[in-house]
């Protein structure tokens, strides 16, 4: 079953992600892909994540297709205008890439080419509408195309954004624009996430809770301090501290597995998106701990 069919069937899905490298050495990425093959329902390929220049996400997705793994193409609006975005979407589609995650994209100032011209000709809501148009056989200028796409397309949302109300308004707009599924920014506070899901459940969309594996107290503090929209509650920091340095990663994986179990058993959302950030080999371990493998 495809990612779309699995998610729409109501089965609890698991997605993870791979980040293409800077440079042409794809050994690590291929290794990670093979490791996750047959275990996750689909793999996101990040689009020059954090505005750091790397292999493009379309090429990464194509490699996944060749390895028999279903990709989710992450597409940001930072580096291409509406012509480039649409052209790349059509190109991705004919290469067998059927899922797209539309996002605005981190600012170039976050990355390694700070003097680059940020594009943002479109933003996430407009990109979603654009994909919807391509699916209906017309481009953004209203031209009829020879052959439409049939993308399953989604977006991201930050359930812990502060303030939350404008973020929820944007969530609403993304759904109006046609988003079918959401992968959230990392969440740690399940009770708070339930509150967000009460809002999300009013809409006919699927939601995958984002999980970032905690590997140390330092990482938890870093996330709290530096990543907008991520809040690691003190209880988990204490848990990591109590585990000691050597057992911290194990504890972080236990926390993630616990969350997956709870999200699934209590039917809180439709799946999880595990962001391992360089620890892709731990994804199957977490899935095992959560009883998914």
């Amino acid at each position: 079953m495809s990612f779309r069919e699995t998610l729409e069937s109501g089965k609890f899905v698991v997605t993870a992600e791979v980040g293409p490298p800077k440079g042409t050495d794809i050994k690590q990425m291929t290794h990670d892909m093979e490791l996750l093959k047959g275990k996750v329902d689909a793999l996101n390929v990040t689009d020059n994540q954090s505005a750091v220049m790397r292999i493009c996400s379309i090429a990464g997705c194509k490699l996944l297709v060749e390895h028999g793994i279903e990709p989710i193409l992450q597409m940001t609006c930072r580096d291409r205008n509406r012509i480039g975005l649409q052209s790349d979407l059509l190109g991705a589609y004919v290469l067998g890439i059927k899922n797209v995650l539309c996002m605005t994209g981190d600012h170039v100032l976050a990355g390694d080419h700070k003097d680059a011209k940020p594009v943002y000709d479109l933003e996430s809501v407009q990109l979603l509408k654009t994909v919807d148009g391509l699916n209906h056989g017309r481009d953004l200028a209203g031209n009829e195309m020879q052959g439409a796409t049939d993308f399953y397309f989604g977006a991201v949302v930050t359930p812990e954004a502060n303030p939350l109300e404008p973020q929820l308004a944007k969530f609403h707009k993304k759904i109006k624009a046609g988003a079918k599924f959401f992968q959230t920014q990392a969440i740690y506070d399940i009770e708070k996430f339930k509150g967000f899901m009460q809002v999300a459940r009013e809409y006919p969309v699927k939601v995958l809770a984002g999980l970032v594996i905690l590997k140390s107290v330092g990482m938890a503090n870093f996330l709290n301090k530096n990543v907008p929209g991520i809040r690691v509650p003190q209880e988990f920091i204490d848990e990591l501290k109590a585990a000691g340095k050597e057992k911290a990663l194990e504890t972080g994986m236990d926390i993630a597995a616990r969350h997956i179990r709870q999200l699934k058993e209590e039917n809180i959302c439709d799946g999880v998106h595990i962001m391992a950030i360089g620890m892709e080999d731990k994804v199957p371990v977490i899935m095992q701990k959560a009883g998914l493998l």
């Binding site: 933003e123 953004l140 109300e165 973020q167 944007k170 609403h172 920014q185 929209g229």
Partner: protein, 220 residues
């Protein structure tokens, strides 16, 4: 107004090193308010040039340096000084510099300033950028706050995921434009409108350069 900043003086001296006699042209509008092209700055420049062995044949603060014809008329009284100069240094914006280029096709013209942006003066000599001159104003739909300018990404349909306690991901000194718009529209009782409006991609064709407006035609 057009916000200008002084170019590095050492670099400017290097750029004009081959010229000997200078005429300094300021502007009584924006550049004077920015402290880059009023009487005090012209005096300072004159002293700097003279200290570097140059001659200054004359100085003048134009009323409105970007008004080509007006500036040309005003400069008629400085004919002699201008005839004796081999370089005009314009101490206003890029528009003022190019007025001088148009008026004096035979004389070298150099800018003393960098033109930064269209700004609002919030306090004396403190300026904020609030309008990008995009040619397709959407302030009517965004509570009067321009996201094209106030958001570093210029995005049109709400805050991105980088909103950080109401501030921008690129700097805690920038309040998120879309949080500001949300708050402002809330005060105007337009929270529902905020939620429902989906702005179309901008019409960037409205800002293809060089732009030209003929207001006379519109009066016909």
């Amino acid at each position: 107004m057009i916000i200008t900043e002084k170019k590095d003086r050492a670099k400017l001296l290097e750029t004009v090193k081959d010229y000997k006699s200078f005429f300094l042209l300021g502007c009584s509008e924006c550049a004077t308010l920015c402290g880059t092209g009023g009487e005090p700055e012209l005096k300072e420049m004159k002293e700097l040039l003279e200290a570097n062995g140059k001659t200054v044949t004359g100085t003048f603060v134009a009323k409105t340096g970007c008004q080509v014809l007006g500036t040309k008329v005003e400069l008629k009284g400085h004919k002699e000084a201008l005839e004796a100069t081999d370089c005009i240094i314009v101490m206003s914006c890029g528009a003022g510099t190019q007025s001088a280029v148009e008026i004096f096709p035979q004389i070298a013209v150099y800018p003393a300033n960098n033109s930064a942006f269209l700004g609002n003066m919030t306090r004396l000599q403190m300026f904020d950028e609030r309008c990008s001159l995009c040619g397709d104003c959407i302030l009517d739909q965004t509570g009067g706050i321009c996201p094209v300018t106030a958001c570093p990404k210029g995005i049109l349909n709400g805050p991105c995921g980088g909103t950080n306690d109401g501030n921008c991901e690129i700097s805690p000194d920038i309040k998120c434009a879309w949080v500001r718009i949300y708050e402002r529209m809330g005060k105007l009782g337009k929270t529902v409108e905020f939620k429902e409006m989906v702005l179309e991609p901008k019409r960037w064709s409205a800002s293809i350069k060089p732009r030209r407006v003929n207001a006379r035609e519109e009066k016909k």
